[in-house]
C-alpha cells in the first residue's frame, strides 16, 4: 500500500522553494505531497482558518 500519498502535515520551506523551479505541468506529480498539504491547509482549513483573518475586524479599531 505504499503507493498511497504521504499524509501531509504542512508545506515545507524546502519543498516550496524547490517547487518554484519545477515546470507548472509537473508540480502536481513531482510535488504531490506539497499540493496536498497546501490544499488541506490553505483551502480546506486544517489548523488555519480559511477566508479572512480575524484581524480584519480587529483593525477597524485602530
Amino acid at each position: 500500500m505504499d503507493n498511497a500519498p504521504t499524509r501531509p502535515s504542512r508545506p515545507g520551506l524546502d519543498d516550496l522553494t524547490h517547487s518554484l523551479d519545477i515546470p507548472l505541468e509537473r508540480i502536481a506529480v513531482e510535488h504531490a505531497d506539497l499540493v496536498e498539504a497546501i490544499r488541506r491547509r490553505v483551502v480546506e482549513g486544517g489548523p488555519v482558518p480559511s477566508g479572512t483573518v480575524p484581524v480584519a475586524l480587529f483593525n477597524s479599531a485602530i
Binding site: 504521504t6 507548472l24 506529480v29 497546501i38 490544499r39 490553505v42 480559511s50 477566508g51 479572512t52 485602530i62
Partner: protein, 755 residues
C-alpha cells in the same frame, strides 16, 4: 483488483509470506463487487464530507484485468465517487503488461501509476522474475519509458523499490535516477520478530548503512527526485503508512469484497489482515471499528513502552505496524528494524552537516528559527521578505496545479504550461498578483461539495493575462461574470451582452473579444484613451516600484467588509498621491519597515466609505501583497495604516508555513486594546502590528511631533502587555514562544533606544 500475478517474486508478501488467503479468493474482483466498493466509498465520503479519497488499485497484478476490464472499474469508481469528493486514483503495477492503450486509459481517468523496480538489472532480477525464472527487467524499463513520454507523464507516479542489502546501493540509486521518476519509494523488505530480515554481514544495522549511502548520493546530487522515505523521516516530514504517528487511514478491499486491514500485515501470520467485514454488509465506519484499526488511531499511546520512551518516536512512529509482530506479544514491540531506523534518522539528521556561519562560530539555529528571529525584530530583512514572497508564489502555483487536478487538462491549462516555459516572467507576474490565490481558493472550495454551483474557472483569464503580458498570440474562451472579464493586474472589460463566455484573442498590442452579441477590440496602449468598456488597473509610482490601485478584481472582496467600486479618475489620482506620499513617510520614519514594504506590497484595495468608521484598514490571509484601506487624504495617517497592515501580511505568510499557536486552542486572552477577550492568533497579530506602530511613533517622537511620545508610550504598553499575556497563556507552540520571546526582546531594545 486481481489476485494473481504474472511475476513470481520470492519477496512478495501476498504469495510468499505467512498469509495464504489469496488461494481461496476469486481470481479477479467481479464488477458487482467493484460497484459495491465504489458505493461504500461514496457513502463514506458523503457522510463525513471528506475533501479527498485516495484509491489505490492493487493486486496481485491489476493490469491482468486488461484495458477493457480496467476501464469498467475506473468508470465505476469515477461515476460513484467524484460527485461527492475528489478522487485521487492510483495504481501499483509490475509494469510487465503496460502498453500505450493502457497509458492512454490512465491519462483519460487521471490515474497515477507506480511501477515496481528494484534497481539495476542484477538487483531487480534477484527477486522480480517470471515463474520460469526469466528476467522482468526489460519489461519494466519499457513500461517506465512509456510513462515518461510527455503525453503520459501526468500518470507517472514513481517507482517502488524493495531493498536488498546484497545489492550495490550506488548502482540501485543510479538505475532509479535514470528512469526520471517523480518519486521513489524505498521499502524495507517485510519482516517480523518471528522472521527477522536478512542481515548477511556482521554489521548491526545493514539497512541503515545501505540507505545512508543512497541518502548521501541523493543529497550530494541536489535531491534530483523525491525519495519519500528520507522526506518522511525529516523532522515534521509528514507521515506515511511506514513512518510517523498519524492515525492509520488505510483499508483494503480484497477481490471477494472483504474489508481488510493494511495488506502488509499478511507478512505476520495467516489471516492477520482480516476483519470479518465485507463491502456488501458493512460500511467503512463499521470496518474501521475493528480493534486492529482502532488501536492504530492512538498515535504514540498505541505504541509499546520502548517506543513511547524513545526520543525519535515522532519520526519513525514505531515503524511499519507489521514489522512489530512477534508471536506471544503481538504488535506490542518496537519494529524489527528499530536499530536501523534509529541509525537512519541519525544519518538523515547529520548529512549534510550544518553550514558554519562566516564568523567561524558554529551555529545551531534552524532555518525556521532564523526566519522567525528575523521577523521578530519587527520588520524582517529583504532576504526574509523575498523568501516569504517566494513561498506565497509557490503556494499559488500549487493551488493552480490543484485546480488542474480537478478539471483536467483544458486549453487554458495548456496555455499556462506553454507560457510557463516560454515566458516564465509573465506567468510569475500574473501569479504574484495578490488576488489570484483568493480566486483559486474559491474555485477549489466550491468544486468540492456536490450540489453547489462551481465558481467561475479562473484559469482562462489567468492564461490570457499572462499571454497579454508576454505578447504571445493566443485565443481562449473565457468565462464572463456580470458582463465583465477581469485579467488579473491588467484590468477589466465590461461589455453588456457578452453572454456567459467570450472568445478572447491576443494579438500584438491588443486583444479581441467576441461573445454574445458583442465584438470588441481593445488596444493596450498605456498612453492612449482606453478602448470602450476597458478599465485598466491603475497604478502609482512608489519607492518599491509600481503599486496597483486594485478596484476592479472581483476577488479583492475578501476583507470581510465592503470594498469600494471602481474609483473615478480624480479619486484614484488622490488616493495614489496619498499612498505615494505615505510610502515616503514610512521611509522617513522607519526605513527598515519601508524596505519590507518595498519587498512585497504590490496592491492597495479601497474599502467602501462608512461615515461611522471613516478610518479602517484590513489584510486578508489569502491576499499576500495587498492591503485594504479607506481612502484618506493624510499621508501621515496612511503611513501608519500601511505599516500596520503589512505586519499582518507578513505574519499571515509565516502562518502559512508554521504553527505558532497550538491548534484547537479555545483560550481567550484579555488585551489592552479591546474590551473583549481575543483568540491567541488575534493577539499575536495585534502584538506584531503594534510593535511596528510603536517603532513608528518612537521615530516621530525623536523629532518632537506633537503627541508622538504619548502615542509611542501607549503602543509600547499595548505591545508589552499583549506579548506577556500571550506568553502566559500557554497557547503558543515552541516556535510561537520563541517568536514572541524574541519580539519581546526587540521591544525592550526599542524602549532602550527611545530612552
Amino acid at each position: 483488483m486481481h489476485s494473481r500475478c504474472d511475476l513470481s517474486c520470492d519477496h512478495c508478501y501476498v504469495y510468499q509470506h505467512a498469509d495464504q488467503t489469496w488461494r481461496g479468493r476469486p481470481v479477479r474482483m467481479p464488477l458487482a463487487t467493484v460497484r459495491a466498493v465504489a458505493q461504500r466509498i461514496a457513502e463514506h465520503a458523503r457522510e463525513h464530507e471528506l475533501p479527498v479519497v485516495h484509491v489505490v488499485l492493487h493486486g496481485g497484478e491489476p493490469l491482468l484485468l486488461g484495458a477493457a476490464g480496467l476501464r469498467e472499474v475506473l468508470a465505476e469508481l469515477r461515476a460513484a465517487i467524484t460527485p461527492w469528493t475528489r478522487l485521487d486514483l492510483r495504481m501499483q503495477t509490475n509494469g510487465v503488461l503496460l502498453d500505450e492503450e493502457l497509458c492512454r486509459l490512465f491519462v483519460e481517468y487521471d490515474v497515477r501509476v507506480g511501477v515496481s523496480l528494484d534497481g539495476d538489472r542484477a538487483a531487480n532480477d534477484r527477486h522480480r522474475v517470471f515463474a520460469h525464472g526469466g528476467s522482468s527487467h526489460d519489461h519494466v524499463r519499457r513500461a517506465l519509458a512509456l510513462l515518461r513520454r510527455p503525453e503520459h507523464r501526468a500518470s507517472y507516479a514513481g517507482i517502488l523499490c524493495t531493498i536488498d542489502v546484497r545489492n550495490d546501493p550506488d548502482r540501485v540509486y543510479e538505475a532509479l535516477l535514470a528512469e526520471s521518476p517523480p518519486r521513489v519509494d524505498l521499502l524495507l523488505p517485510h519482516a517480523t520478530w518471528d522472521h527477522p530480515p536478512e542481515r548477511p554481514g556482521p554489521e548491526p544495522t545493514p539497512y541503515a548503512d545501505w540507505l545512508g549511502r543512497i541518502h548521501r548520493r541523493w543529497v550530494d546530487d541536489g535531491r534530483p527526485m523525491s525519495i519519500r522515505m528520507f522526506e518522511a523521516l525529516r523532522p515534521g516530514g509528514g507521515g506515511t503508512e511506514a513512518f510517523g504517528l498519524a492515525p492509520a487511514d488505510v483499508l483494503v478491499v480484497e477481490a471477494d469484497g472483504s474489508w481488510e486491514q493494511v495488506d502488509s500485515l499478511k507478512t505476520a501470520y495467516h489471516g492477520a489482515a482480516g476483519t470479518g467485514f465485507d463491502v456488501f454488509d458493512h460500511s467503512v465506519d463499521e470496518a474501521t471499528r475493528h480493534p486492529g484499526v482502532a488501536v492504530r488511531q492512538d498515535g504514540v499511546a498505541g505504541l509499546c513502552a520502548t517506543c513511547r520512551a524513545c526520543p525519535v518516536v515522532d519520526r519513525c512512529g514505531g515503524g511499519l505496524y507489521a514489522h512489530r509482530w512477534r508471536t506471544g506479544s503481538g504488535f506490542d514491540n518496537p519494529s524489527v528494524y528499530c536499530a536501523d531506523l534509529l541509525r537512519l534518522i541519525d544519518t538523515v539528521d547529520a548529512y549534510p552537516p550544518p553550514t558554519p556561519p562566516a564568523s567561524g562560530e558554529l551555529s545551531t539555529i534552524s532555518p525556521v528559527d532564523e526566519l522567525l528571529d528575523d521577523l521578530a525584530t519587527g520588520h524582517g530583512s529583504a532576504s526574509t521578505l523575498a523568501l516569504l514572497a517566494a513561498t506565497q508564489l509557490s503556494i499559488t502555483r500549487a493551488l493552480l496545479a490543484a485546480c488542474r487536478d480537478g478539471s483536467g487538462t483544458t486549453p487554458a491549462w495548456e496555455l499556462l504550461v506553454h507560457l510557463d516555459q516560454a515566458a516564465p516572467e509573465a506567468i510569475r507576474a500574473v501569479l504574484a498578483h495578490p488576488f489570484v490565490r483568493p480566486g483559486l481558493v474559491h474555485r477549489l472550495h466550491s468544486s468540492a461539495p456536490p450540489g453547489v454551483g462551481a465558481a467561475v474557472d479562473p484559469l482562462p483569464a489567468l492564461a490570457i493575462a499572462a499571454a497579454l503580458r508576454a505578447g504571445v498570440p493566443a485565443a481562449l474562451h473565457v468565462p464572463v461574470r456580470a458582463d465583465t472579464i477581469t485579467f488579473p493586474a491588467l484590468g477589466s472589460l465590461v461589455l453588456p451582452g457578452l453572454g456567459e463566455s467570450a472568445e478572447v484573442t491576443v494579438r500584438p498590442g491588443e486583444f479581441q473579444v467576441r461573445g454574445g452579441s458583442v465584438e470588441q477590440t481593445v488596444l493596450l496602449d498605456p498612453v492612449a484613451q482606453p478602448s470602450t468598456g476597458w478599465f485598466p488597473t491603475r497604478d502609482v509610482s512608489v519607492p518599491g516600484g509600481r503599486l496597483l490601485l486594485e478596484d476592479g478584481d472581483p476577488y479583492r472582496d475578501c476583507y470581510g467588509q465592503p470594498v469600494e467600486p471602481r474609483l473615478d479618475g480624480p479619486a484614484a489620482r488622490a488616493l495614489g498621491r496619498t499612498l505615494a506620499e505615505a510610502w515616503r513617510v514610512v521611509h522617513r520614519d522607519v526605513p527598515a519597515h519601508a524596505a519590507a514594504l518595498d519587498g512585497g506590497l504590490r496592491a492597495v484595495v479601497p474599502l467602501a466609505a462608512d461615515p461611522a468608521r471613516p478610518l479602517r484598514s484590513a489584510t486578508a490571509r489569502h491576499a499576500f501583497g495587498a492591503v485594504a484601506v479607506t481612502p484618506h487624504s493624510d499621508p501621515e495617517t496612511m503611513a501608519v495604516l500601511l505599516v500596520h497592515e503589512w505586519q499582518h501580511a507578513k505574519l499571515g505568510a509565516v502562518l502559512d508555513l508554521y504553527d505558532l499557536v497550538e491548534s484547537g486552542q479555545a483560550a481567550q486572552i484579555r488585551v489592552p486594546w479591546r474590551p473583549d477577550p481575543r483568540p491567541p492568533e488575534g493577539v499575536l497579530q495585534g502584538v506584531y502590528a503594534h510593535l511596528a506602530i510603536t517603532q513608528v511613533w518612537q521615530s516621530r517622537a525623536a523629532t518632537d511631533q506633537g503627541d508622538a511620545s504619548a502615542n509611542a508610550a501607549h503602543f509600547l504598553a499595548w505591545t508589552r502587555d499583549g506579548a506577556d499575556a500571550l506568553l502566559a497563556s500557554r497557547s503558543l507552540t515552541a516556535a510561537g514562544e520563541r517568536f514572541v520571546g524574541q519580539l519581546r526582546h526587540a521591544l525592550e531594545e526599542t524602549r532602550a533606544g527611545a530612552g
